[in-house]
């Protein structure tokens, strides 16, 4: 099951759905399909609240630790304070690395693909500094995602 198969309208639930929210939700839904999740969505109002993709738990075991690093990243990069922005960015990064990469709902496989992506990013100097740590961009965004979910 993937989020991409869901009715886009259902993403708005019983609440009023603006055009912007609808489009964001649609994008998230598609992204969720790529990452094998159908369980995250925009909150209906107020700050965005994320629902955890299943592969994330396979990838990041210690959520408190990751969240602390992720918050430091978000402090420096407020533009990523949106789940969809983070996930979209990760997806696009993956596709840039290898257009044939097919992320499935298999969490273990997804975690492996991410691990390979991180190594490539280090090798290519696609990194950011987070509280002094030199981290691959995707790695930093993974921790940011955890911070938003935690």
């Amino acid at each position: 099951m993937t989020g991409g198969h869901r009715s886009l309208l259902s993403l708005c639930g019983d609440h009023r759905c603006t055009r912007r929210t609808f489009l964001l939700s649609a994008l998230l839904s598609l992204t969720a399909g790529v990452f094998g999740s159908n369980r995250y969505s925009l909150a209906n109002s107020g700050p965005e609240r994320c629902v955890e993709p299943p592969w994330l738990r396979k990838t990041i075991a210690d959520r408190q630790s990751a969240a602390r690093i992720g918050r430091a990243y978000l402090d420096a990069h407020p533009e990523y304070r949106h789940c969809h922005a983070l996930l979209t960015d990760m997806e696009q990064t993956l596709k840039r690395q290898d257009a044939s990469v097919s992320l499935t709902a298999d969490a273990e496989q997804t975690a492996g693909i991410l691990q390979a992506l991180l190594r490539k990013e280090y090798a290519r100097d696609e990194v950011v500094s987070v509280a002094g740590w030199v981290l691959s961009k995707t790695e930093a965004r993974l921790y940011a995602l955890v911070a938003m979910i935690a």
């Binding site: 738990r57 396979k58 990838t59 990041i60 075991a61 210690d62 630790s65 990751a66 602390r68 690093i69 273990e108 975690a111 492996g112 691990q115 991180l118 190594r119 490539k120 990013e121 280090y122 090798a123 290519r124 100097d125 990194v127 500094s129 509280a131 002094g132 740590w133 030199v134 981290l135 691959s136 790695e139 921790y143 955890v146």
Partner: protein, 513 residues
């Protein structure tokens, strides 16, 4: 034979074929190479067989540049600074000898191939032979561990060999004492190299003892081997004919002083899985009676592509985090390291499933990172004479060690490379501890490596000595030691200065006979 200059009658004049000023690493190496050659040698050593504070105080000087101790970074006794040597041995890299258009004043008069025949005998002298400085297969075999293939193309592994360390005075003193053609004159301070009237030759050495005696040594040939600071000072003090100092007609003596800037506390690394992290990367490994440790050095292609200076990094375990140990919440660094280890565990261990229990006995380790780097040859970084005088009424040295922005930027680029290589391998994560990279990491110090003050060049306008280490325009005066290095590379200098001295010995054997 050992002779204490204080026991000779005043105004004693000694003669030899070759006089060597300085009984340190270079002087002893040269004397040994000539033992039994039929060439009479007199080694003129300023110190005695034991350290003496009064003698050592003659090395004090004025410092006007980066904080640096002229007396604390060298030793004035037989065996010289080998008496506090750390024992790090590695040859220079081929690129260090090249003229690099991004490194002003770079380029040795010859390529590394000229020194290669001398590196193995030099390795024997410092007791680390056979040298396997770049032989990863050898170290994999003897350590029985697979070494990582660095993936980012920025750095490579080389292998620093550790001498015991060889204390040249005690190690080779008896051998020299037994050599019929060698006299070691102790407690004999050379106060002047007396030039001939046309300054194209040396007539003799003026010597004083702290007890007030004055002697002289006359020889056919002379080798100045008193260390990178004192070589310049003695030439500058030898101004009886050339007012600027012997060999200093082009104002080069003392200029281009280079050190290897050494830093610590600028970065740390965390590693979660020791099985991925071979022992030789973090500690010394013993093999065939000697020890070695891996150093991370930039690849020559990366240096060329990014127009950088050379550098070297080594790591050592600073702490461990047992899995059952609670974090110290009051220690921000402790928390940061544990957070990184735990967050990145999936990427740093071979435990594919992070939901399964990890190894019960460790969360990971953290390592201190030490680094040193090459500095650009800089004419404003220099040794000159102070207005202050020592106990022999001789001008002390005035040291002005300077670094440039190019040096600093190059160092930080390499530090970044280290982070990338570890990330690309899934070995670890690096944290830069310097908030403001517009300045050097503090504390900034040197490695007690005194280089460049009598640099080598075939062009007298660019160097004090020629490719044979002979002082330009002075027919019978040579210089031995790291003061002749035109560039420093990033390797510790002792092995190379021994190799250069062996090469000089071959040259002198041919010339003196």
């Amino acid at each position: 034979m050992f002779t204490d200059a204080r026991t000779l009658p005043d105004q004693t004049s000694l003669e030899a074929d070759l006089a060597i000023i300085g009984g340190g690493v270079a002087g002893i190496t040269l004397a040994r190479a000539l033992a039994g050659s039929g060439i009479s040698v007199c080694v003129v050593e300023a110190g005695g067989l034991e350290a003496d504070p009064e003698v050592q105080s003659l090395y004090e000087g004025e410092n006007t540049g980066i904080d640096y101790s002229p007396s604390g970074t060298r030793l004035r006794l037989f065996g010289g600074s080998s008496n506090h040597w750390g024992g790090y041995c590695r040859p220079l890299d081929a690129i260090d000898f090249e003229q690099r258009d991004w490194v002003p004043f770079s380029g040795w008069p010859f390529a590394i191939e000229e020194l290669i025949p001398y590196y193995e005998p030099a390795s024997e002298i410092v007791e680390v032979a056979p040298g396997h400085y770049n032989d990863r297969e050898y170290w994999q075999r003897v350590s029985n561990e697979q070494l990582p293939e660095l993936a980012a193309g920025r750095m490579r592994l080389q292998f620093v060999h550790f001498s015991t360390p060889t204390r040249f005075g005690s190690r080779y003193g008896d051998e020299l004492k037994a050599a019929a053609n060698i006299r070691i004159l102790l407690n004999a301070n050379v106060t002047r190299i007396s030039a001939s009237d046309n300054a194209h030759g040396v007539k003799g050495l003026a010597i004083r003892t702290l007890s007030g005696l004055r002697h002289s040594v006359k020889a056919r040939y002379y080798v100045l081997a008193a260390g990178g600071l004192e070589n310049a000072r003695i030439l500058l003090l030898s101004n009886n004919i050339v007012q600027a100092g012997l060999g200093n007609q082009n104002d080069l003596v003392g200029r281009f002083f280079m050190e290897h800037p050494h830093m610590g506390g600028f970065a740390e690394m965390v590693v979660a899985d020791l099985q991925r992290f071979p022992k030789i990367l973090r500690e010394r490994v013993m093999a065939e009676g000697r020890s070695a440790k891996a150093a991370f050095n930039p690849t020559q292609s990366f240096l060329r592509e990014h127009r950088l200076l050379n550098a070297t990094f080594m790591m050592g375990v600073a702490g461990k985090y047992p899995a059952d140990q609670l974090p110290d919440a009051a220690n921000a660094n402790d928390t940061a390291r544990r957070d990184m280890l735990m967050a990145a565990r999936r990427f740093l261990t071979d435990n594919d499933d992070v939901e399964k229990p990890g190894r019960p006995d460790d969360t990971g380790i953290w390592l201190g990172v030490g680094g040193s780097c090459e500095q650009v040859p800089n004419p404003d970084s220099r040794v000159s004479l102070s207005t202050q005088q020592d106990a022999l009424d001789l001008a002390k040295i005035k040291l002005n060690w300077r670094l440039t922005e190019q040096d600093r930027l190059s160092f930080y680029t390499h530090l970044h490379s280290l982070a990338l290589e570890f990330g690309a391998l899934g070995l670890g994560r690096l944290r830069e501890m310097v908030a403001d990279q517009s300045d050097w990491p503090q504390p900034l110090g040197g490695g007690s490596h005194h280089m460049g003050t009598t640099r080598m060049s075939d062009n007298p306008l660019r160097g004090v000595v020629d490719r044979n280490c002979k002082v330009h325009a002075v027919d019978n005066l040579y210089v031995a030691g790291s003061s002749v290095f035109p560039t420093s590379g990033a390797a510790n200098p002792t092995l190379t200065l021994v190799a250069l001295t062996l090469r000089l010995a071959d040259h002198l054997k041919g010339r003196i006979r």
